[in-house]
């Protein structure tokens, strides 16, 4: 019974970790203020 509880705990923590990280994701940020270029940039 104690082994079953230990296994369930490991599974629950893994699920919680991955679901939380995926839900947080990466922030969208803001649209870049840089313009669409009409001149040749000297470097990348």
């Amino acid at each position: 019974m104690r082994a079953l509880i230990a296994a369930a705990t490991g599974l629950a923590v893994a699920l919680a970790l991955v679901l939380t990280l995926s839900a947080i994701g990466t922030p969208a940020g803001k649209t870049s203020p840089e313009p669409l270029l009409t001149t040749v940039p000297p470097h990348p």
Binding site: A6, A14, S22, T31, T38, P44
Partner: protein
Amino acid sequence: MRRKTSLVLLALAVFCAALAPLVRWYAFPRLAKIPANEYQTMVLEAKNATLLDYGTMTARTVPKVTIVQTLKGDVAASEKIEKTADRDVVVWDGLSYIQGPDGKMVSRVPERYIFDAHTQEPVHATGESVDGDPVRREGIEFKWPFLTEKRDYEYFDAQTRTSNPIHYKGTQDFRGVKVYYFEQTIPWTKVAMPKTMPVAGITPETVARTGTTRWYTTVRKFWVEPLTGAPVYGEEIHQEELRGGTLLGGRAKVTAFAGDVKMREDYVEHTVALVKHNRTLVLLMTSSVPWGCLTLGALLLALSLWLEARGRRPAGPPPARAPERETVTA
């Protein structure tokens, strides 16, 4: 104590074993995506190209034609579309600005490309356009999906406004990066005049009235890093002609542009370095972390079982007691 340790190890083993498929098949599709606020530029050059002189309406060889390509993510527009699309969406506003050897504008073609942030599938929403004309993309553009496969893809051509197959032609090594080589040929096709013409006073409408039409063909080549789906190098053998009508003074056709367009060397180096970095991140999520977790999980499980088995082993026989000496009575 030994029992408790084996239970903790068992919990950790299950944690690691569960993490492996969760990272690969749940987290990866949700976390690996093109950022909505992406901003990137690319410079391509066609050396010794043929370019039409609109003053004399004759083609001449020029030392260099430069194409400046900008892609800029519109975050507000992507968030608006996401509300109805029910997936992560990226909206790219692009501009292909072509400059002649004298620094003057040859053409400028804006476009709006809307796609799924992970799969790269086109998303159809209001605003999807090329040079102001509404379009409906059925293929990818600029980038391949993560975990690119060795197969043909539909690739959108902005000049003809159509999607056509781009063929997988083999695996190569490009500056130390394993890449898939793709090639697409667009046969001679009649295409629209750009809305912005290089000479003031000339518009697509005035050209159309002369009966002159614009035709185009290209061979498009991409070297794509398969994990990220990012092209590390691109080339285009591009030809444009004006055909018929009174504008050409009785000639059947004149070359408007012809050249072998290649990425500028500093941009190639920059792109290769960027792709190498991003490739490591994708590799972590699709291979290193899942396989590492699975291996660690197996080791922890084995250790846990071993400890458990030792804990249950029956204790050894008690030390033999010295036989009591029998008392002998005389």
